[in-house]
């Protein structure tokens, strides 16, 4: 997994590239701990995210809970395979997906 960030004031876009699995989810989680400081508008760009497992879903849930307190969060360019997992677990209805 590779993470690319684009910050514009308090708006942050995070591109998650590759696989968000048990091996890589802790890295994203760690990154978010500090990256979200002062962010009010968070976007995850999943255009190049091919695969997500429950470890990745947990990171998204934690991020969503945090952003509910300090602003908003959305997912964009979600692939069919990732969308299926979000649907199956009810995450699709918890998050803003564009």
């Amino acid at each position: 997994m590779e993470i690319k960030k684009e910050q514009n004031g308090s708006a942050l876009t995070i591109h998650v590239i590759g696989r968000l699995d048990a091996g890589s989810a802790p890295d994203l989680s760690k990154e978010l701990t500090t990256a979200l400081d002062g962010v009010t508008d968070l976007t995850f760009d999943f255009a190049e995210l091919k695969y997500i497992a429950s470890a990745g879903l947990r990171v998204l849930l934690v991020a969503q809970k945090r952003m509910n307190k300090q602003g908003s969060m959305k997912l964009i360019h979600v692939s069919e395979a990732v969308m299926e997992v979000l649907d199956m677990t009810g995450f699709a209805s918890l998050m803003t997906i564009e």
């Binding site: 699995d21 048990a22 091996g23 695969y51 429950s54 849930l61 395979a81 677990t89």
Partner: protein
């Protein structure tokens, strides 16, 4: 039947997935099913790696075989860790709103959603989890 035994640590997840993928490709398993099996393998293997022997490290065995007419994948995970039946864990309530959602139980829930049959037994000191998926 094809079988691989590895030390149950998250770092070995890819080895097990590559092993399974090789056999799924040989069987011309549809891409979508292969991805679902990858997710199933990850969730179970990671569970074994994190909990079965904790705080020690032990081994995990993964077996894959195929049936014809109808085409099906049979996968089994075996470990010698603490007896643990993942099927006893209640499913997360996927209708709850964000503040009530818990982060646990998602992995095995995804496994159940992606296979057609799943069976657990504890036999001879081993956890044996078998699954079947038609394709």
């Amino acid at each position: 039947m094809h079988k691989i035994t590895v030390e149950a640590v998250v770092e070995n997840l890819q080895t097990v997935i590559d092993f399974a993928t090789e056999h799924l490709e040989e069987q011309d398993c549809p891409m979508k099913t292969a991805m679902q099996m990858e997710l199933v393998i990850e969730e179970i293997f990671v569970n074994i790696a994190n909990y079965a022997y904790n705080p020690e490290v032990g081994m995990a065995t993964f077996c894959i075989e195929f049936e014809e007419r109808p085409s099906a994948i049979l996968m089994t995970f075996i470990d010698n860790g603490k007896p643990y039946n993942p099927l006893e864990k209640s499913d997360p309530d996927t209708t709850l709103d964000i503040d009530e959602r818990d982060i646990g139980g998602l992995g095995i829930f995804l496994v159940k959603k992606n296979v057609d049959e799943i069976d657990y037994k504890y036999e001879g000191g081993k956890n044996i989890l078998s699954m079947k998926k038609f394709f």
